[in-house]
């Protein structure tokens, strides 16, 4: 069957489901949805539909990115726009079946928005609500809308037309298209994709390899997970196109084992591709052959570094080696190898589907296109977002993120994971693109944005990242292995109240040594979280070292818990739940915390906050 026929067949099948005679219920069932109870909701819908003798189909889809509103359900009735519902409980699910599927009441009170030509009175258009409006959904266009385990849904929405177009032109012309798009690697460093490909093409060898790096190890980042779970084919199509352009017959996807659902969806998608003739021998009858092998990572952050990743695929300890030679000259098994990020691959398929002009509609001169970010931490609207490169941090945090959650105030945004930095409020108007962020002493990294409020201690955050780096350092370079250990010890001392004069200078010295003396990116960038917090939050270090005070009231050794007498109603809640019996008192009388017994676990504050707010953290000294 040629591509045209495949498309027609897929489109017919997709339309018969989505725009068919009976209603369809889409349940967001990526990892975030599932952990919020999506599967139970799906079961409730199925049960109710059955009991009420209705004709409707329930389909599990991916994630539209509004993770804070999970479980998200979309109902598409004939002649009606798709209506999205958020935080759906079993009770709401039952109501939706009775009132909307079996009746005509769209239950506007639970609705988030509509997608479709027609609207529904009382429900805004989904892409007009504040969290969605500043976003441009290109990479995520299919996420939450198509069934990720049905290749026909992807084809019907333009999928694999990029591959079909690429196979009709010469490999070098594909590279030319990517060059015209200005696409830069989405893994963090931002190297022009076409150039990497060209280097590999120019290296002479009997065999070449392509590896898609899905070892998303940055803590606080989950863009790749979500994309692989919600639209795996967009990544796989990009891999096939890139392989064709470079002249690769064997490609790998290196995906973290911590992402079981992503792995499952990838395996299924690859088997579908083979069936359809998008993978294997003689792809789309053009004579081009390709196989894709999935390699599961085994939990080593450093394997995100390309030479370590290669060592890991070869069955060795994942330790980086010196570059040059770069992998494009000598990579996997000593052969020229291109390593591209998941989102880079998805961008490639989009560029080949819609043309590079479509891609360059957004972005800045030097950073073209859109980029996905995981917006998490202390913001109201946490989730996966996609914005044009060049958007400011302020727009992302305050417009899309809805500002700081609870009653906290903004303190910092951590960008770029352990290699990045913490930026203070004065940097909120920084544009998010490769070059502006490098100038602001952070890096874009793969796209994790962790927002921190005034309850976050910046010394503790720096300590946290060094603890992470200490665990993940492969041990090859002494400055990284031992230098970060020394830095961690110093920072731990500071948070324990044992900081000394001269610690800050020593940290800076060590940072320089580690930057200069480490082989790979992990080591070279590991001091960044410390350097940026030292630069922008020096007063917090001073408070810890000199006054033995934690301004965020977080470092346990520097604080005590205390009952605010005027607010305590004597409800006994904290008293009963204290794991060490440190609270004493009788009913309806002010309680007291024995500071010698108290382990500062936080249970009492958690219970009391929102009710009486009668327990506070105070400085010890």
């Amino acid at each position: 069957m040629n591509f045209k026929q495949l498309f027609k067949e897929s489109e017919d099948e997709y339309n018969s489901i989505i725009r068919g005679k009976s209603p369809v219920i889409l349940i967001g069932s990526a990892t975030c949805g599932k952990s919020a109870g999506a599967l139970e909701i799906a079961a409730t819908f199925k049960k109710e539909i059955n009991e009420q003798h209705l004709d409707a189909e329930v389909i599990e889809v991916g994630c539209i990115g509004l993770c804070y509103l999970e479980p998200i359900v979309t109902i598409i009735k004939p002649e009606m726009p798709a209506i999205f519902y958020g935080q759906v409980t079993k009770k709401i699910a039952k109501k939706l079946v009775t009132e909307y599927l079996n009746g005509n009441n769209p239950m506007t009170e639970y609705a988030l928005g509509t997608v479709g030509e027609k609207g529904v009175e009382g429900i805004p258009a989904l892409f007009e609500i504040p969290v969605m409006k500043p976003q441009v959904r290109r990479i995520l266009r299919n996420c939450g809308f198509i069934d990720p385990s049905n290749i026909k849904h992807y084809i019907a929405n333009g999928g694999y037309s990029g591959l079909n177009a690429a196979l009709k032109i010469k490999p070098l012309d594909v590279i030319e298209n990517i060059k015209n798009s200005g696409l830069r690697g989405r893994g963090g460093a931002g190297f022009p994709t076409w150039m990497k490909w060209k280097f590999c093409v120019d290296s002479e060898a009997d065999k070449k390899y392509l590896i898609c790096n899905a070892d998303e190890g940055d803590p606080g980042a989950f863009m790749n997970r979500s994309l692989l779970e919600s639209d795996p084919h967009s990544v796989l199509e990009g891999i096939v196109i890139a392989s064709y352009a470079i002249g690769v017959k064997e490609a790998y996807i290196y995906c973290r084992a911590e992402y079981p659902l992503a792995l499952e969806r990838l395996k299924h998608a690859i088997s579908e591709m083979k069936e359809m003739g998008f993978l294997g021998d003689n792809i789309l009858e053009t004579g081009f052959d390709l196989n894709i092998t999935i390699k599961e990572g085994a939990g080593a952050f450093v394997c995100g570094e390309e030479t370590a990743l290669i060592a890991s695929i070869e069955g060795k300890r994942g330790m980086p080696r010196t570059r040059p030679p770069f992998p494009t000259t000598s990579g996997l098994w000593g052969k020229p190898t291109v390593i591209n990020n998941v989102e880079t691959m998805a961008s490639v398929s989009m560029i080949m589907q819609s043309g590079y002009n479509h891609f360059i509609e957004f972005g800045t001169d030097e950073s073209k296109g859109t980029k996905t970010f995981s917006l998490v931490g202390n913001v109201k609207n946490t989730g996966l977002i996609e914005v044009p490169l060049g958007t400011t941090l302020r727009e992302v945090i305050y417009e899309i993120g809805g500002g700081i959650s609870g009653d906290g105030t903004f303190k910092a945004v951590q960008i770029g994971g352990p290699s990045g930095g913490c930026l203070p409020e004065s940097f909120l108007d920084t544009r998010i693109d490769y070059d502006s962020l490098t100038m602001a002493v952070a890096i874009m990294g793969s796209g994790g944005l962790v927002v921190m409020d005034n309850n976050s201690c910046m010394v503790d955050v720096a300590r946290y990242f060094l603890d992470f780096i200490q665990n993940e350092s492969c041990g090859k370079c002494v400055p990284c292995r031992l230098g970060t250990k020394q830095m961690l010890d110093i920072l731990t001392d500071i948070t324990l109240g044992n900081g000394k004069k001269g610690d800050k200078e020593l940290l800076k010295d060590l940072s320089q040594g580690i930057k200069d003396g480490s082989l790979c990116g992990l080591g070279q960038t590991s001091p960044n979280p410390v350097l940026t917090t030292l630069k922008f939050f020096e007063d917090e270090y001073e408070a810890h070292i000199i006054e033995k005070r934690c301004p965020a009231l977080l470092c346990k050794e520097l604080i005590n818990y205390k009952v605010i007498d005027e607010k305590c109603e004597g409800c006994m809640l904290c008293l009963k739940s204290c794991p060490v019996g440190a609270v004493s008192g009788v009913k309806k009388q002010v309680h007291k915390i024995d500071i010698d017994k108290c382990i500062k676990c936080g249970t009492c504050i958690e219970l009391c906050s929102g009710k009486y707010n009668a327990i506070e953290r105070v400085n010890k000294y």
Binding site: A36, P219, G220, G315, R317, S374, V376, V450
Partner: protein, 156 residues
Amino acid sequence: MTKILDEILCNYKGNKSELIPLLQDIQSNFGYLSEEAIKEVSKFTRVAESEIYGVATFYTQFRFTPVGKKHIMVCKGTACHVKGAPQIIEGIERHLGIKEGEVTLDLDYSLESVGCLGCCALAPCAMINEDVESNMTLKDIKKMFRRMERESKEDS
């Protein structure tokens, strides 16, 4: 054990590049890598035992002791850290009476922390066997264990 191990080995050619997938396969069947299993893998792949240990100890996924029936992996990602993951780990430690990296005496539970589960928008979170627990709070820890105990009773 040998029989299952043989069955697993049958699916591999014995190349060195298969070492990590092979160890993963063994661990997912037995829950950990036993001395015996490593010896067999060494014979099969002709890679020295010391080198296999070298590789296996490098990756945090591999374990050399059994885990509990419910293996709890608390996420220590940045978002979880900011939202109180350290307190959650301490809370679970207190509840189970074990420390991170240990197994309860009855082998019902084991506790570990992991880099990042990628569920950052619903932090703090943890993975219990294959299921993700999200938006965890200290006060819900007891409830969570009660629910798990009920579930395992129902299963048996």
